[in-house]
Symmetry: C2
Subunit: 352 residues, 2 copies
């Protein structure tokens, strides 16, 4: 952290302004260069980024690449279990992982609000760097803009990822087939409810921490165990599991039958949802995947997920069928049945 201090130490008389983002940090001139050198490069520096060129140059083998982009506007910027920095890395890595791609690199584009605490920015950048390092993925290109106070909300981060696709493993939202078993890797609702609690200052009986995590290693376990028997992979983020299942049902033209009794919802999440009148099926997750797996490979898929810490509570939720294509039917605990629709409007804004 000492590498990030000179700007502050050099101007003790102006410390009230120099410990916050100023418009000049977005000028493209000396202050921009100082911000980059003192705040970003000490944490994110790697040979690609340190070249400070207009673009990073990477070697790729012939084949197919996956490209994914996501902008993060989560509020608050820090929450139990993570921050916008770690979330921005995990979110895009997971989008690549759901396509069966292995990440090659990430880019990061920042919108900073004038007045943002540089200490907070430091923590966010450090969280990004740590998440990238843990995944072994460099952030190869970046951009920083500054807008006037009141024209953004602290910081927004876009991350875009490039990944490499190999042969024989090509999960896709339109590849689910009748008979496929629906496997869920972990209990639902933690990320959305952690954000909700942090934002509204609600103290639930037990603290809920975000499940934000890099799902790449978990997908690798699946790939090794059952390979292309995994037809579809999705991480149910915004809109929750209900929205993701509806999207898959529509894209693959299959019906889905899901058992409510099988659906894992942590007690703290269930309690918080009940208190706030929310349905955990629509609450965002950032460390959960749903896999559609050929029936004969389902036991192997569940075992492979359970062998990894992120999938130790993996369960079979139900199955896909030819009947009622596009519809998601939930068989309730009391033996009834209801259609689970997509979220019609807004449930929890700015959870990612």
């Amino acid at each position: 952290m000492t590498a990030t201090s000179p700007l502050v130490l050099a101007c003790p008389a102006a410390s009230s302004s120099t410990d916050r983002v100023q418009l000049g940090h977005g000028s493209g001139g000396k202050m921009s260069a100082a911000l980059l050198r003192e705040r970003f490069l000490p944490h994110l520096g790697n040979p690609y980024l340190l070249r400070l060129a207009d673009a990073a140059v990477l070697q790729v083998p012939a084949g197919e690449v996956a490209v994914s982009t996501d902008t993060f506007v989560v509020s608050p910027l820090e929450f139990p279990g993570g921050s916008i920095g770690s979330l921005a890395v995990h979110g895009t890595l997971n989008d690549l992982a759901m396509m069966g791609a292995r990440p090659l690199c990430l880019t990061a584009g920042f919108v900073l609000e004038e007045g943002l605490s540089l200490d907070l920015l430091d923590r966010i950048i450090r969280a990004m760097a740590e998440a990238g390092r843990a995944a072994g993925v460099p952030i190869v290109a970046g951009d920083t803009k500054v807008v006037e106070r009141g024209k953004a909300d602290g910081v927004f981060i876009n991350t875009t990822g490039v990944g490499l696709l190999g042969d024989g493993f090509r999960p896709a939202p339109d590849r689910a087939r009748p008979g496929d078993v629906v496997v869920l890797s972990a209990p639902i609702g933690r990320h959305g409810m952690a954000i909700m609690a942090a934002r509204e200052g609600i103290a639930f009986d037990a603290q809920i921490t975000s499940d934000s995590a890099d799902l790449g290693p978990l997908v690798e376990c699946l790939r090794i165990a059952v390979g292309d028997s995994v037809h579809t992979l999705r991480d149910p983020t915004r809109g929750g599991l209900a929205t993701t299942l509806n999207e898959i049902a529509a894209a693959s033209r299959v019906g889905l039958l899901i058992e409510e009794a099988a659906l894992p919802v942590p007690d703290a999440v269930a309690g918080a949802c009940e208190m706030l009148g929310l349905d955990p099926l629509y609450v965002a997750n950032e460390g959960v995947l749903v896999a559609f797996v050929a029936p004969d490979a389902a036991p192997g898929a569940v075992a492979a997920l359970r062998a990894h810490p992120l999938g130790r509570d993996a369960v079979i939720l139900g199955y896909a069928r030819a009947a009622h294509p596009g519809l998601v039917e939930l068989r309730t605990r009391i033996g009834g049945s209801r259609i689970v629709d997509q979220l019609p409007g807004e449930q929890l804004p700015r959870i990612c």
Copy 2:
């Protein structure tokens, strides 16, 4: 455009809310899907994007790819000569072009402010689509977030580009050499002053339009004419030509000698800068490149640039030398000389 109308037409009674972005458009649920289907896909749709997967999949040959990212926060969102939509496409295409890369694809990440006019959003998306189509580059992946009124400023757009690098043409900021001729493709200052005039409602004697343009074809002219004799290419955007020249001088450890008399500044820009006390050397451009070219290739480079409409006013500005590495010296019209430094703080915020 008819494909974008159903949302409005279906709810005539609620037209005051349905012609503006609402928080529900960022939910990930039905309203998000409708916004995507009705506002984005009619203009931007292509086989990659229409698959609606977590990532786009593209074929690449073995070799090197360039990756660049840029977030656009320009204010106002529309200005003479362009909008944030066209600028977001040109800006990232140009970053790829400056590395000698041919663009393969772009991604687009949007932050929308609640209350943004959907008509304005339509125009912005259409401008992006047109700029992408003109360059022959598809927008293969996208993301949309919505934040509450007062937490952004209309719309911010991140674009990230992937390009392919070929053999034998590898301009880079650290490859300028003593003796290289500094060539400028077009007069400076138009973009920054067009934004300034539009934002402040200043009526100059003549309207100044932004020079925002895709520089890829101009770079292609250079490549064909003189190939790897082009050592360095940069587009002087934020911070203007002065900042770009300083960055190249520092990265390549050369001194630069620039002739003020050779510097092309349109009369309208010069007049506006004088009125506002600004130096055109620090004003942003979005359709100008500066090339460092081996001396014997300089006449060919200038001729190649002049053969293209974007480079018809190309000039030789000066040259690089071994003396005073890192310094940019301007020889003034009256025979004096001054050091041109990087912009110390902020001149014109939010010009890109």
